[in-house]
Assembly symmetry: C2
């Protein structure tokens, strides 16, 4: 193996460094233009929420001095107070006091994430999960009876799905809802402690009504998980037969009253079954428009996808707050003299500090574009004026929502942590926002679907090409299915020659030279790289699953062994979707300053994504060593171009000054 | 460029997967043997602390229900209570109630990190920073006057170094200590708000005496930063001329009373100067045994290196608690069926879950070996029976302490976060330890030296070959120095041919084929890889610095541009030191179960470290694509071998059951 030519590398580095100083023309940023890009079609909705946030910004300072109960009360008052306003009601039908615009409701929720996150999450429980379940799973009589009160914040409720024993595998929940033909009631029972409802928001203190997910039993036959409305609290006391326990202190979100629920043969009228997809008729017969019980279950779950879309957007909102503080601090804080007589140097003028913050900033922009795309698809599939979308579009949406939620919430954890560290000791004080940002967002990677489980769901969609008859979450089923049926399709679809044919049409060099001849800053090159990785990993995972089973391996063991490969393919898929969304949005812009700045951000996101996995691209012959090094140099050059507009990049997020609350850091 | 041969890769994967199941002989773990390895020479000291921890374990449950002031009081009582015991006093001279054993004091502190971290940090402030400064910077009269009371916990104090305006660049502190010849006093003054002392532990509530770092002025001349003892509180009230402010709520460590201090011309006797390295004589003349003021300053700072060693060890202790909980949870929690009829699968039987936890476990073992090595060197350099070590040994120790602190505390942040996520929603409740572990350790990456600044210090030592006359932290000085003097030495020392000559002696294949022919599990191969990367990066950084300055670039701008390369080289250096320490310890063991298990852990640490940066090795011709892929497969195989002994691996940490406090998770 040839020795590396050190001298050459150094000469190249020097040339690059000089070029960077002569360099490309300086970028000029137009904050309003960037804001318009980020805010997208719902700029006015976002501005309304921004104004609303300022009204209760004082909570952000006061929360540390309140007891848990005082804090919960403050948060409840705010959540009730925004009922019926543009901060909470956009997604509901106009007939019940809503705005009838799902896209607007997601935009509002994302922006609400700039403020106190207990308010955000409790709103999400009330108006998103609880209200959304009544709306999506219920029928007219439920809507008429409850929606107006829910939307207005007069009736607070819970979304009681998760159990202690089953968080991810919700198809195996233990709670039972048995139809009693003698009284024509539904009897809800918690058979044992693993089936207690756990971590349920609004349960410990405020909720009166719960959407309880339980195994429905009709005429002695189990029908799978269904949702039933159960009153849990009357005049502030637990309803008869309901036991409630407080989950107690948590890492964060202390303003949300999470609790546990047990049901001791609680009887509710038959009408309390949320029966959009399945009902019990007057004769006590179970009837459903969907025959296959798995398909029925996943259809029900699928209607709740807005929760995932919302959490992803909220994670992004929180990242924007953290990065705004860290970038502004780095443009104010000086430490160590580097040029004689120039005084100490601004943190953001250090190469390492740029490396820490600017790629995270670019990724935040990229994920915003990806988030907008998933919200757009949600609006299209669930929008009031759209007839029921076909199954395939729904599944593609579910997959995209799952993947986007996973990458945005991991990004939030990482960006907030890096921003905290980049503010040193000052970042550790609660007077600044990091304490709450870190603690409150920590669970985003877990709730509304554990991120690893979600990526597995994405992988499954890819491996089955969304063609499976039902989307069971059961891993064993997945292995059987893949091994038996869809894998040949996947392998054919992802065959390298097909991809390369497609690439030939868009890139110079064609199928044999594209990865050498295309410019690093050509978005088609960047996209081709991410697509190549995705399809290659997917094909490899499919072949390993099939081969393992063909060899007579136990399918479960085969699956567990290949699992990280499967999840890796899903991550690569999401990376590609994110870049595709960002590039498409940037390409649609007119020429000008805003497009130039966003192009630099898009390049930075694309190249740092490739760079982070350059080991893979080198292993698979899609990067040569010199080209791989050139990417790293290019990343440095782009960061130096972006440095002068860094403040504009965070100003464009439009986090209200009132909620930044980090006076010591940002002055 | 050749297309990747998919089919071949799959065949290899299949062969590997089959081999893994037939595989290597199963590992057998002996918890006592592993414990002996981890506990090292101070097993009894650690066991004494383990027993002590159980005595106040109840604080871990109660803390969430206490007000901040109640919590601080509980923590103070515990910290005072352990005064004079083996939990706090090992490092002080026997004449003043200590044990006279620095190594023992570090071991005790590391183990104390299994318990409440406010207790740990407040102990560290009292017995480590405050007591340590009096001991190391003071002379006999200070020792006689204060040490016995400090060691016994009767006199609580502060280490008042950091200021709002200067955390990392402490040579530029703003506080002034002026000698007044008329009264023969020292007058301590805070000239402005940027010079207020900030984040000072023990300041807000309990401290009576502070070691204040200030610019000493004698006879009208500035002499650089020195330490002065200043009473700050009398009978619970601020001393005259001292203003104290509470830092208020923090992300964590709420049991520690961090505060701010202002001095308004506070007068103390001349004798209050801690004058081991410089004094003011009776005639008001400044005298020091060290002429060069920079050298004097860094000599003083150098005596405080134990703080860094201790924080690194504490980060490791906290990681061990988190990983113990996560691994035990993964051996108890089941989710999803993967084998028909086998019930749901244990989390740790999923490949992805192994990927998340087992490399972190291996890294924890490796870092424990590295931490023991730095503690051993500390003990040797500062041990009572050692004559003053030479400057070079001190600098090597300071560099090793800085680097080890950076990697262990980053590891803590990452391992604790991954462990939390691996426990799902249950991990989010404060009833489990993650809330406190996350929040309390968060600042470890910042205090006792910001990790990035510390790695720069490491890089500086490497670039100057520890040969500079003084270790100034000033970046500009570093650039000048490197450009002018030492860089040729560095380039010569790191020349590839020299390294390869050395490698030829230990590896098959010699200088041309070693990286192809050596076995992946040969520690000499693994070490050669890490050493090659380190020396290559170091030489590259040196050349870039020199070339930039030779080209007439502004040295400050050159440095800032090359900074991430410089820091990268330091990280690579620390990676190599860690593996070296681990391999050396394992090699010293007799053949047997314990050595086999530790060898697997050492391989896992080494190969995941190479794998994580395989892009670099591929770029620089030190890994071929097939060999790079083989490393990933080998990592999978090692994890499957370690899976059956995972419980033993965490049991060996010896975290007392009483302080694990995660009953819901671990049963």
């Amino acid at each position: 193996m040839a020795l590396d030519t050190d001298q050459h590398a150094t000469t190249t580095d020097r040339r690059e460094e000089r070029a960077a100083h002569r360099g490309a023309p300086p970028l000029t940023a137009d904050v309003a233009g960037l804001r318009a890009f980020l805010d997208g079609p719902y700029a006015e909705v976002r501005d309304e929420v921004r104004r609303g946030l300022a009204d209760h910004a004082s909570l952000l300072d006061e929360d540390v001095d309140l007891s848990r109960d005082e804090l919960r009360e403050r948060v409840r008052d705010i959540v009730v107070g925004i009922g019926g306003t543009g901060q909470a009601a956009h997604g509901f039908p106009p007939a019940h006091g809503g705005g009838g615009d799902i896209g607007a409701s997601v935009a509002a929720f994302e922006t609400l994430a700039y403020g106190d996150l207990s308010v955000l999450v409790k709103s999400g429980v009330q108006y998103g999960l609880f209200g959304g379940a009544v709306q999506q799973l219920g029928t007219a009589r439920h809507h008429d009876a409850y929606l107006a009160d829910i939307v207005a914040g007069r009736l607070l409720g819970c979304f009681a799905m998760t159990e202690t024993g089953h968080g991810s595998n919700v198809q195996q929940l233990g709670t039972v809802a048995r139809h009693d033909p003698d009284t024509d009631e539904i009897v809800v029972t918690t058979p044992d402690d693993t089936a207690r409802k756990d971590y349920i928001g609004n349960a410990a203190r405020d909720g009166e009504l719960a959407v309880v997910f339980a195994q429905l039993e009709v005429g002695g036959e189990r029908r799978g998980v269904h949702a039933v409305l159960v009153p849990i609290r009357v005049d502030g006391e637990p309803a008869p037969g309901v036991r409630i326990e407080d989950c107690g202190a948590k890492i964060g979100l202390e303003g949300v009253d999470n609790g546990r629920l047990w049901f001791d043969d609680v009887r509710v009228p038959r009408d309390n079954l949320l029966d959009r997809f399945a009902t019990i008729d007057e004769d006590g017969e179970y009837r459903s428009s969907i025959d296959n019980p798995d398909r029925r279950f996943f259809t029900m779950l699928g209607t709740l996808v807005q929760g995932r879309v919302s959490v992803g957007g909220a994670g992004l909102g929180a990242s924007k707050v953290a990065l705004t503080i860290a970038v502004r601090y780095a443009l104010r804080r000086r430490q160590f003299e580097t040029e004689k007589g120039e005084g100490e140097t601004l943190l953001l003028d250090y190469g390492m500090h740029q490396r820490r913050l600017l790629p995270l900033l670019a990724r935040t922009y990229a994920l915003t574009a990806a988030q907008e795309e998933v919200a757009r698809q949600l609006h299209e599939v669930f929008g009031a004026d759209t007839p029921d979308a076909d199954d395939r579009a729904r599944r593609a949406l579910e997959s995209r929502a799952a993947g986007t939620k996973a990458v945005t919430t991991w990004h939030a954890t990482r960006a907030i942590q890096e921003a905290r560290e980049a503010c040193g000791g000052a970042g550790y004080l609660s007077a600044n926002r990091f304490a709450a940002l870190k603690a409150d967002t920590d669970v985003f990677t877990t709730f509304e679907g554990d991120n690893h489980v979600l990526l597995q769901l994405v992988a499954k969609g890819l491996l089955t090409d969304y063609s499976s008859e039902f989307e069971d979450l059961d891993q064993f089923g997945m292995v059987r299915f893949v091994a038996g049926l869809a894998v040949d399709t996947v392998i054919e679809r992802t065959a390298a020659h097909q991809l390369l044919e497609r690439i030939r049409d868009v890139l110079p060099g064609g199928r044999d030279g594209w990865d050498q001849e295309a410019g690093l800053l050509d978005p088609d090159y960047q996209l081709a790289m991410l697509r190549y990785r995705e399809e290659h990993q997917l094909a490899g995972a499919a072949r390993r699953l099939k081969a393992g089973v063909d060899d007579g391996g136990d399918p479960g063991v085969v699956f567990r062994t290949v699992q990280d490969h499967v999840i890796g393919a899903a991550r690569s898929h999401v990376d590609r979707l994110v870049l595709e969304a960002f590039v498409a949005r940037v390409r649609a812009l007119p020429e000008g300053h805003t497009r130039e700045v966003l192009t630099a951000l898009s390049d930075l996101y694309a190249l740092t994504t490739i760079e982070a996995d350059r080991g893979w691209f080198l292993e698979h012959g899609r990067l040569s060593a010199p080209r791989s090094k050139a990417i790293t140099r290019e990343v440095g050059a782009i960061m130096r171009r972006l440095r002068p507009v860094a403040r504009d990049l965070v100003d464009a997020f439009g986090v209200p000054e009132d909620v930044l609350g980090a006076e010591d850091l940002i002055g």
